[in-house]
């Protein structure tokens, strides 16, 4: 597994909590619940190294990303303590 940037000594530490839902949750059982990353996009790229199957799903255009419960752009800058969730199309109701 690639070194988790959250545990590295370099750069600013941005400890991000990760959540995966729907079909993504089945593919993300081995993903650490916290990591570092400058943007959701950077986290997705980091995940691709060790979880290629998950990364394919994360790259689907229908998958949205939220930060602290708000849907955001993949390039949104993250700050320490942010909660990032990867959301496949919802199917409730």
């Amino acid at each position: 597994m690639a070194e988790n940037p959250a545990t590295g000594w370099w750069g600013t530490l941005r400890l991000i909590r990760l959540h995966f839902f729907g079909r993504l949750s089945d593919l993300a059982t081995q993903v650490p619940s916290r990591c570092a990353g400058e943007t959701p996009h950077a986290i997705r790229q980091w995940l691709a190294e060790d979880f290629p199957e998950l990364a394919v799903q994360l790259n689907e255009p229908q998958v949205l990303v939220s930060v602290n419960h708000c849907i955001v752009d993949w390039q949104t800058p993250l700050t320490d303590g942010d909660e990032v969730a990867f959301l496949p199309p919802v199917t409730g109701g």
Partner: protein
């Protein structure tokens, strides 16, 4: 406006919810119309787009959601509805966890002075709940669990209300 919003594993009772809508509005004698919607687990699901199964009889269903975000999104949908129509009371209940065929999944209830706002707000809330609220269904058929695909028809249904805003 009285708002009730619950995400729960337990079943709900329609009569109790109706009674709440009917009696607990600040202006009960102004209520002329109450619309309720109840969604139930159907026994047969259509074939999946991505899988080569034939659909079939459901063993059961599991509903996952994103605690914190779901409540916020549902409250936003209710607030949107209250901006669009003069409503006296709104209740939204969505179940999570394991459900069996014929179980109740979701309840939307709206009280208003007149029937048109009540009908329209209830349908609006369901359309947006289906396309925006962070719930995911996993169904099990012949012992095989699979995540349900989202429906294009639901996206189209939600877009009707966007079009009304533009017009």
């Amino acid at each position: 406006m009285l708002t009730t919003l619950r995400i729960q594993a337990e079943d709900f009772d329609l009569a109790e919810q109706y009674s709440l809508l009917r009696s607990s509005s600040p202006a009960t004698t102004e209520i002329g119309a109450i619309v309720t919607f109840t969604g139930l687990v159907r026994e047969f699901e259509p074939r999946s787009r991505d899988h080569n199964d034939d659909g079939g009889a459901l063993d059961g269903m599991r509903l996952q959601h994103y605690p914190g975000m779901t409540e916020k999104l549902l409250q936003g949908i209710i607030d949107d509805a209250a901006q669009r129509w003069p409503l006296l009371a709104v209740t939204v209940i969505h179940r999570v966890g394991h459900l069996a065929p014929c179980d109740q999944i979701v309840f939307v209830g709206v009280a208003s002075e007149h029937r048109q706002p009540a009908f329209q707000a209830a349908e609006f809330i369901m359309d947006y709940l289906k396309t925006r609220a962070t719930f995911w269904k996993q169904i099990t058929i012949d012992g095989q669990p699979r995540w349900v695909d989202s429906k294009d028809s639901d996206t189209t249904a939600a877009r009707r209300w966007d079009a009304q805003c533009d017009g």
